[in-house]
């Protein structure tokens, strides 16, 4: 029982110390893992001390209950989501106190400890085994964790599973070795430790053959009645973890079971602590190779220190196993090629593979998508947006840049970007008066390489003046007032971040975006936050400092800050462990909007927040072939609230944004009656609502009223800088040109087409309208229009 309790406390401590994104502003996109590893090294050091001091708890008895207790401790502390996501757990100080009391109790007990039957001398070897096994397991566990959803609870799940497997290994194989243990001291502990090297090699092979290649992974998962669309869930992670960690877990568990002396147990923990410290300091570049060599060194160490306990055959066996460990190091040296194998997240429509970079910061994947936009994934977290989210990202950055006072913008201003610089972001900043952009984030060491890759081939957009700096340097510069604006772009994926305390520096505005698909409804947030939506698809909120946060903005084009309200809806293990990613995103957005609606019950923003809450509540999973408009659900209660919110002459910026988004969806759905019912009344209220007028013009075209459509479109002016508005305007004019041509107004059609070609001489559709109308001849097959294809 004592070892069970001790193990439980050790498990709680080992997993309870962690950093989550948002502990500090500069860690909002991603938490640095160096601090977590360093803390774990310290915790393991304390555990080693506790084991060394616990005379009665350990002596002479197998360590299997400790392993089982640790597994329980890891799961009890690490899996409950509301505990999980709040950084270092409150259970950690309690566990430390409990551990101290446990050790004191052990030492004060009156009964004499059981004599340690095994001869001494294996402790130094145990230290090397603890270190070697930890170094070997580190890359294995990192690769296994890439099969999770990146929500942050995977470490607890995999850690607990590993300890459980180790328990089983100790129980299953410890009994047959009982005689060996008694006879040869802790020889079995060393043997088991040495076997971890070939076990790790076999595990690498298993992962490489069955889990990493997508097709092989599909077949592998099929055996368990799973499929790739479930990737990210604990079920898939579990089977991959067993595949990759089973053998090393058995050998490690057997080693702990056979450590009969508390000095050996303490040394195992101490070795693990040293290894964690080395990894935290980044002093080991190839842990798999170094780990095997360290393990191999345990053999001569045991031969030297415990020679009195070893007979002839034991010495030979030890020597042979040591040699095997050394030989294992040779193929393990090439494991960097396996470590570099991409573990790509499951996608409905797989993107082409891109450039892969794996280092201590993680697995980076740079993929070129449509429009030449490159997406960057860091361990499945999107740190540079894909084509789908680039527009939303641009709007948020533009909004943040617009918060800098006009006087500062006119003279040029300096920005700290906490995130990945991309050509799109650089373009916006270059054209907004930014004179210098320093960049930082947890992956700052890799940023220069990423920027070189992202800007490759860009002739018109160059990286702005500025440099990549370490977070510590950025923090000092920020505190010294070197920046006018600090902006943190939102990342997609990963655990829900904490809301960091924002620095208050005179003359510096801080805008930190967080994607609403991360569970924020449960978080403590500042009293006021900035909210934005990309149409109705990509809501996000921003934490802001350095500005007056006004709930009722002074001018219609100024953003409004919303009360964040009280936390609600903490999800549980079921939601995080067994939910598909897109379902989780929808649930998170809906919960956040509900939180805002509750905050604004009976107040000026009531209709808008209630409408948004109803809208996001109504969203459901759609066909993978539905585009964003078709895949959006529009429900009457939501639209009724939103119409009421808009029914005034001077709408605020967010209300306009919402209704631009709704008009976009109605256009995409070709919902003519919907446009008349919901858009037309508002167009009557608002002056110069271009999106509304375009939607109504398209509705006129659908109902074959070409004249009315032409009259609506004539006064509208847009430029490419208007992004989606310009796109809709262009398409509407193309449709009008086609309709004019079909109605016999060739000159009207020609004039419109020429106008479009002046704007964009490469507009294929416009050129097509200049050609004579071909007779309709059916072909044998017609491939349906592809998703997102320009239809005019």
């Amino acid at each position: 029982m004592n070892r069970l309790v001790l193990g439980f406390l050790c498990g709680v401590l080992a997993i309870g110390v962690r950093r989550v994104p948002g502990e500090t502003l500069l860690e909002l996109p991603r938490a640095g893992d160096g601090a977590t590893l360093a803390a774990r090294a310290a915790i393991l050091g304390l555990v080693a001390l506790a084991l060394a001091l616990s005379k009665r708890t350990w002596s002479g008895r197998p360590g299997t209950p400790l392993l089982f207790g640790a597994a329980l401790g890891v799961w009890v502390e690490g899996l409950p989501v509301d505990l999980r996501f709040n950084g270092t757990s409150a259970m950690v100080p309690l566990a430390l106190v409990a551990l101290a009391l446990f050790v004191l109790r052990d030492r004060r007990a009156e009964a004499e400890p059981a004599p340690e039957t095994n001869p001494p001398g294996f402790a130094p070897a145990a230290l090397l085994i603890g270190a070697g096994v930890t170094l070997l397991l580190d890359p294995l566990v990192r690769v296994v964790l890439r099969f999770g959803a990146g929500t942050g609870m995977e470490a607890a799940f995999v850690g607990g599973l590993f300890l459980l497997l180790a328990t089983f290994g100790g129980l299953a194989f410890g009994a047959p070795l009982r005689a060996a243990r008694d006879r040869a001291g802790s020889l079995a502990m060393v043997v088991a430790g040495l076997l971890t090297a070939p076990a790790a090699l076999l595990s690498w092979g298993a992962l490489r053959g069955q889990a990493i290649p997508p097709l092989a992974r599909r077949e592998f998962l099929d055996r368990f009645d799973l499929d790739r669309s479930l990737e990210g869930q604990l079920s898939v992670l579990g089977v991959v973890a067993v595949l990759g960690l089973l053998l090393p877990a058995f050998t490690a568990g057997l080693s702990v079971t056979c450590a009969r002396r508390r000095g050996e147990a303490s040394s195992l923990a101490g070795g693990a602590a040293i290894a964690c410290a080395l990894l935290a300091l980044r002093w080991v570049e190839q842990p798999w190779f170094v780990g095997a060599l360290v393990l191999a060194a345990a053999a001569p160490c045991a031969l030297v220190n415990a020679r009195a306990a070893l007979k002839g055959r034991s010495r030979v066996a030890l020597g042979v196993l040591g040699l095997i460990a050394v030989l294992t190091a040779l193929p393990l040296r090439h494991m960097h090629t396996l470590d570099r194998s991409p573990v790509l997240p499951w996608e409905r429509f797989p993107s082409p593979p891109g450039h892969l970079e794996v280092n201590r910061d993680g697995q980076f994947l740079v993929r070129r998508a449509r429009g030449g936009i490159a997406q960057v994934l860091l361990d499945r977290v999107e740190i540079a947006p894909s084509h789908e989210r680039a527009a939303a990202d641009a709007k948020r950055l533009e909004l943040a840049l617009g918060l800098v006072p006009a006087a500062a913008r006119a003279d040029g201003f300096e920005v700290l970007l906490v995130g990945q610089l991309t050509p799109g972001r650089a373009f916006l900043m270059n054209t907004s008066g930014v004179t210098r952009v320093d960049r930082t984030a947890a992956w700052w060491r890799t940023m220069d390489d990423l920027e070189t890759r992202l800007f490759q081939g860009q002739t018109e957009i160059t990286p702005p003046v500025g440099e990549v700096v370490a977070p510590g340097v950025a923090e000092k510069r920020l505190a010294a007032g070197a920046y006018d604006l600090v902006v943190v772009p939102a990342v997609k994926g990963g655990p829900p971040p904490r809301a960091p305390r924002l620095p208050e520096v005179e003359g510096t505005i801080v805008v930190a975006w967080i994607d609403a698909s991360l569970d924020l409804a449960q978080r403590r947030l500042p009293e006021y936050v900035l909210v934005t939506l990309d149409g109705m698809h990509e809501p996000a909120l921003a934490l802001v400092s350095g500005l007056e946060l006004d709930e009722q903005p002074a001018a219609p084009d100024m953003p409004a800050f919303w009360r964040s309200g009280a936390p609600i809806d903490a999800p549980g293990v079921r939601e995080y462990g067994f939910e598909r990613g897109e379902d989780r995103d929808r649930r998170a957005r809906s919960a956040l909007m509900r939180r805002f609606a509750q905050a604004y019950d009976n107040s000026p923003w009531e209709e808008l927040t209630a409408g948004l809450a109803a809208h996001f509540e109504a969203q459901v999973r759609s066909s993978p072939w539905a585009d964003r408009a078709v895949g959006s659900e529009l429900v009457e209660p939501a639209l009724t609230h939103l119409l009421a919110a808009g029914a005034r002459a001077q709408p605020d910026r967010l209300t306009r944004e919402v209704w631009d988004g709704l008009a976009d969806i109605l256009i995409g759905k070709r919902d003519v009656e919907g446009i008349w019912r919901w858009v037309e009344p508002l167009a009557g209220f608002w002056d110069d609502w271009k999106m509304g007028e375009i939607a109504l013009a398209l509705a006129d075209l659908e109902s074959l009223d070409v004249e009315a459509a032409a009259a609506r479109l004539a006064p509208i002016e847009t430029t490419p800088a208007d992004l989606e508005l310009y796109d809709h305007h262009r398409r509407a004019r193309l449709k009008l040109a086609a309709a004019l041509r079909d109605a016999g107004d060739a000159q009207g059609a020609q004039d419109l087409v020429e106008e479009l070609l002046r704007e964009d001489p490469e507009n294929r559709r416009a050129w097509g309208l200049l050609a004579p109308v071909p007779p309709e001849e059916p072909e044998e097959h017609l491939a349906p229009p592809e998703d997102g294809q320009d239809d005019g």
Binding site: S229, R348, S623, D671, E702, E776, P778, E779, L782
Partner: protein, 191 residues
């Protein structure tokens, strides 16, 4: 039996009927009228997804059924018909999406549509039904304009209704095609 949601590419479609690739038949209105049993203009009054087990004990097939109440496009007779197409998702992640199915917007309850259908003894798994001809290519939404006229929304080149047309005009055109096709058939039979 495995119940899981196949969200991958048109490979799903390979499990169904006669198509060898993810595309539908390109048809003019005349061809659609020739090849289908009838066209129906009406309101979707019911939708349902059904599962049909396969004889070999493997995966089941799912089909979506739409019950449409309205009038025949050509004759104007009142009629209620249930039409089907492959694909559909049941609770518990059973089923599959079909890339050639009408969109969820197209098949909402209460939508007024024009649907062309053809009887088949076996749409898949032995399921006998009125098949929505050419799947999404056989279903066209309609709306009522401000003057109270029904407009049928075309889907673009290659579809039976390629451009928006008033239902009245479409009905006239359909009747003209029907008459012409009947005359052609008579001539062929007479030979």
């Amino acid at each position: 039996m495995r119940h899981r949601l196949h969200l991958l590419l048109p490979i799903i479609v390979l499990g169904f009927a006669a198509l060898a690739e993810a595309s539908i038949e390109r048809l003019t209105l005349r061809q659609m009228i020739a090849k289908s049993d009838a066209g129906l203009v009406g309101e979707i009054i019911a939708t349902k997804v059904i599962a049909v087990p396969l004889d070999d004990g493997g995966d089941e097939l799912t089909f979506t059924e739409l019950t449409i109440e309205g009038a025949d496009l050509i004759t104007g007779d009142a009629v209620t018909v249930t039409v089907s197409y492959p694909g559909g998702v049941l609770p518990g992640d059973r089923g599959s999406y079909n890339s050639e199915a009408p969109s969820q917007d197209d098949v909402k309850l209460g939508n007024r549509v024009l649907a062309f259908y053809t009887w088949t003894d076996n749409l898949g798994g032995g399921h006998a039904t009125n098949e929505l001809h050419a799947w999404h290519g056989g279903l066209f939404r309609t709306f009522t304009d401000k003057q109270g006229r029904v407009v049928v929304q075309g889907r673009g080149p290659g579809y039976a209704v390629s451009r928006n047309m008033r239902l009245a005009d479409l009905g006239d055109l359909a009747r003209a095609h029907r008459k012409s096709l009947d005359a052609e058939a008579e001539r062929t039979t007479g030979k």
